[in-house]
Symmetry: C2
Subunit: 135 residues, 2 copies
């Protein structure tokens, strides 16, 4: 299991709900019951992709770098870099076997197709859309 996408989406939701405010990792971590360092780690990825901005020092924190209509869940997915949806084998198939010799190439190609399908789906939903579902 892996809650990185959920953490990132949770923070973006909070940022979207409180526009203009800088939210600290402690505040956010409190809303989700998770360690603040984990929040800062995800924020680093989001910032590297230009989705959020951060400000250090007293009264610092995080804010959206783009209007929420411009941030898709596909952007979030790509930013957090989850392990592949089909999993990832770490075995080394037997190169003597005609199947073992080739299968990783075919599985990799398949994994790429699946990732593309996920991204296609997620690209239809923005953080704005997601947040609008809330009461």
């Amino acid at each position: 299991m892996n809650g990185q996408f959920q953490i990132a989406t949770h923070v973006l939701t909070l940022l979207c709900k409180q526009p203009g405010e800088l939210l600290s990792s402690d505040y956010v971590a409190g809303s989700m019951n998770v360690n603040p360092v984990l929040v800062r780690k995800e924020m680093r990825k989001l910032r590297a992709c230009g989705l959020i901005e951060s400000k250090e020092g007293k009264a610092g924190g995080y804010s959206l770098a783009l209007p929420p209509q411009k941030i898709s869940l596909a952007d979030v997915y790509k930013a957090v870099k989850l392990p592949p949806a089909l999993g990832q084998a770490k075995n080394k198939p037997n190169p003597e076997c005609p199947v073992g010799r080739q299968i990783n190439a075919h599985l990799d190609h398949l994994a790429d197709d699946v990732e593309a399908a996920i991204i296609k789906k997620l690209s239809t939903i923005t953080i704005f859309d997601f947040v609008n579902q809330f009461d």
Copy 2:
């Protein structure tokens, strides 16, 4: 990481390439360099879904229960029951927070949509198609 889908697909590929033969978990495990018990565990799932058959006793092993044109990779995906593609948070968000109170429901709904997109993609590919890519 998690190689369960890869194991299942590897076995089905071997079964497809050697129709009529019963392949043992040891033989299969040798082709992929993985523990035979792991193979038997995945086979249990595939059998529960009616994709393969197994025969105990001497000269026993596994065989396809359906023609490979009738087995889609979506069937395999559903059989192995991977963890959700978007991950799965195990935190309990703060119920005092308006976002924390609702977000899991919305994240679950999103996860369902993504799983559906994956299955839709995988349902277009059969084991027969997959194996036909091999030289």
